[in-house]
């Protein structure tokens, strides 16, 4: 019997595909199994089938709604901030200012700081209400230090993340700004277009693709923000800064409830798939 080209290819590919499937399916199957068990880690493992109780308790937990809302607020506000400020800073960096090379390097550096380090930095050096730098400045003017992480917890987390991610957006927007032909802008000026018209009709169409890429990449990252929350606020106070990944972590590794954590994980997989489908459709239209 002669093997056709296609079936030969299938045979050669099969080991990889089998390994990949195992890689995905085994953990998924285990998660599904655990999500129907009463599994307290301190009890030494599973103590039996409890039906849908894990799902019921996870979905009807107030923290779940808080987590969804917090995730939503974080992602949307960060997308808005990073794109808006990214555009402004990119435009500033695009003009040739004094020592612009050095300024660019300094400007990009927050993006290279490891998330845990940046969270510690903000928490202890900047936002600490007694020893922090902001408290120090306020004390100079005889004001009491502000307890950012407890009074404005989510805003503080968003600030930290913006500090890291605005440079990323700037970098991408800057590259597409650089690629705009200067002659195009000059000729528009000669034709009598004002700054606003130039921005809307020449600059914006040119940078819209990098903005799309920014939105796609950042949404993926912001849906899974963990380090900043874990280090700076530990999800608190209460559930003020708990997002979905952190809630699942809490159930599993702080409450030691593997069952409910697995149920939460599966719900998160579902939600993430919705977002992914939506994003892919959005991008298909624009690119």
């Amino acid at each position: 019997m002669q093997l056709t080209r296609v079936s030969y290819g299938k045979i050669i590919l099969s080991p990889t595909i089998i390994i990949l499937l195992l890689w995905i399916l085994v953990p998924l199957a285990l998660t599904v199994y655990y999500s129907f068990q009463s599994y307290n880690m301190l009890d030494g493992g599973s103590t039996g089938y409890i039906g849908w109780m894990n799902y019921e308790f996870f979905i009807f937990d107030e923290a779940f709604y808080d987590a969804i809302i917090n995730t939503f607020i974080t992602v949307l506000s960060l997308l808005l901030f990073t794109v808006f400020f990214g555009f402004i800073f990119a435009s500033l960096l695009n003009s040739d200012i004094f020592l612009s090379g050095l300024v660019k390097v300094l400007y990009i550096s927050p993006f290279l700081v490891i998330p845990t380090v940046s969270a510690l930095l903000w928490k202890n050096l900047m936002m600490d209400p007694i020893n922090g730098f902001i408290a120090f400045l306020l004390n100079l003017f005889n004001y009491e230090g502000i307890d950012f992480l407890n009074e404005y917890p989510l805003a503080s987390i968003i600030t930290m993340l913006s500090w890291t991610w605005i440079p990323f957006a700037t970098l991408l927007i800057l590259t597409s700004l650089k690629s705009i032909d200067k002659q195009m802008i000059e000729s528009a000026k000669i034709d009598g277009a004002n700054t606003f018209q130039i921005s809307i009709f020449i600059i914006l169409p040119n940078i819209i693709r990098s903005i799309n890429v920014i939105i796609l990449l950042e949404t993926i990252f912001f849906l899974a923000v963990f380090a900043e929350i874990s280090i700076a606020t530990n999800g608190g106070p209460g559930t003020e800064t708990t997002n979905l990944p952190f809630l699942i972590f809490q159930k599993g590794l702080q409450n030691f409830d593997v069952g409910e954590s697995s149920a939460g994980g599966l719900i998160a997989v579902l939600l993430a798939n919705f977002v992914a489908i939506f994003l892919i459709n959005l991008l298909r239209k624009n690119i």
Binding site: D147, Q254, F256
Partner: protein
């Protein structure tokens, strides 16, 4: 072409050389590891433990075959790592620091090596009965106590004198409130520092003792959570009112170590916390107020029952191959000799407190540690049994319940407590949420039918 072959032969010889090098190194390491047994010790980052690491050269000198690798972490992280390791039989640690919550539960499950056949020099009968009981299951000790603690009131004598106040020996929470109000003068000094950092061993444990003083208990005799009951509501609203008005900024993030730092910087007029803090706040090198501190018993409200009891202890996970060496280390770290070693190097006031009767009968300790008698009194008064609170309860433990589900109950409750303290939730809402999640967890654990 010639050059090409030359490079190839060079590469081959290089490869052979590397292989030889690797095998020699691994042989060397292997032979080395036969002689030196390495013990991995994981511990909470509290001062007494860190001090033990510094003194560990005494142990390695006496036991040349044993190497020590210390890993220190914060309480919540420690629990996470240790629990993961022991339930999965990971074997990453040979010696782990655990507390009164874990020791009896894990001992019952057979996850810990029982502390049997101890050398007579260890003198097990010298250990304080409350501590020994708390670390045992069915009369078998499963972890050797490194230090033990109850809680008491630490206050600044100078600030009290300035305002003409006197702290009674047995203060009530009402009196503490008045003192805090009179002494609160931020940002120089705060009226009172109390734990607010979420975690069952942090704020939930402390608020648990406040609740005990107000006559509350975690669950009734049918395991129904009592957090929305009048006693809890009274106790918790009192705590929130006190700390919000007269506590430091950022209180919802302050645990034991954060408050210790604040008190040592002179930013707290009063601090009610574990007795083990006393040796640090009176230490010249660490505290700016070392000579201005005095002590009183923990405050009471409607009852004096239900005072804090805890011990950090060292245990060996079952199944380790280095049991003998690990036991040797534990016997060293919890022995009378170690206490004398610390006394010798750092002075008597700094020895690990709350474990041995002999420490509290030693005149050197009693003379050098002004807090010794009060610590002992508080520890002897603490009663983790089922009649230890105003109303009887179905669980063992003072500021925690010794059941596997309490980790989740306490963690969820602690989160709600800190939300209320930060002003993000009302007292009633926070207690309601905490009660609801406690109910769910107990139901899942089949305590409530």
């Amino acid at each position: 072409m010639k050059l090409f072959f030359k490079i190839i032969t060079l590469l081959i010889s290089l490869k052979e050389f590397m292989l030889k090098l690797i095998s020699t190194i691994s042989l060397f390491l292997f032979s080395f590891s036969v002689f030196a047994e390495k013990l991995t010790i994981v511990s909470v980052n509290n001062g007494d433990m860190v001090r033990m690491q510094k003194l560990a050269s005494d142990f390695t000198k006496k036991n040349p075959g044993i190497e020590l690798d210390f890993q220190f972490m914060e309480e919540n992280v420690l629990r996470q790592k240790v629990t993961l390791d022991i339930t999965n039989k990971g074997g990453a640690y040979d010696i782990m620091t655990i507390g009164m919550y874990e020791a009896p539960m894990w001992g019952e499950k057979g996850w810990l090596v029982p502390m049997n056949d101890l050398p007579s020099s260890f003198d097990i009968d010298d250990i304080l009965p409350a501590v020994r009981g708390g670390l045992s299951h069915n009369g078998v000790l499963y972890a050797a106590p490194f230090y033990g603690e109850s809680s008491f009131t630490m206050y600044r004598v100078d600030l009290f004198a300035e305002k003409g106040l006197t702290m009674p020996d047995k203060p009530t929470w009402g009196e503490i409130y008045k003192f805090a109000k009179a002494l609160h003068n931020p940002p120089e000094v705060n009226g009172i520092c109390l734990r607010g950092k979420p975690g069952w061993g942090e704020n939930a444990a402390f608020i648990g003792t406040v609740a005990n003083a107000f006559g509350a208990r975690w669950v009734d005799d049918q395991w129904n959570p009592q957090l929305t009951g009048p006693a809890w509501t009274h106790a918790f609203s009192f705590y929130v009112d006190l700390v919000q008005n007269y506590g430091p900024k950022g209180a919802p993030n302050n645990g034991f170590n954060e408050n210790l730092k604040l008190f040592n910087q002179g930013k707290c007029a009063m601090w009610i916390d574990a007795t083990v803090a006393a040796s640090f706040v009176t230490n010249k090198e660490e505290s700016t107020v070392y000579n201005k501190v005095n002590f009183a018993l923990a405050p009471s409200a409607v009852t004096e029952k239900g005072g804090w009891l805890w011990s950090w202890a060292i245990a060996i996970p079952a199944g380790t191959k280095k049991e003998a060496a690990a036991k040797k280390f534990i016997m060293w770290a919890t022995s009378k000799d170690y206490i004398e070693l610390v006394a010798d190097k750092h002075g008597w006031a700094n020895v690990p407190p709350g474990t041995r009767t002999s420490t509290y009968t030693n005149p050197m300790y009693l003379n050098n540690a002004p807090f010794a008698r009060l610590t002992l009194a508080a520890m002897n008064a603490a009663d983790p049994s089922m009649t230890g609170t105003l109303k009887p309860k179905p669980y063992i433990g003072v500021q925690f319940m010794t059941i596997p589900e309490f980790q989740a109950i306490g963690t969820e409750a602690g989160r709600q407590f800190s939300a209320a303290l930060a002003g993000k939730k009302s007292v009633e809402d926070a207690l309601e949420s905490a009660n609801k999640s406690a109910y769910k967890i107990l139901k899942k654990g089949r305590y409530i039918k």
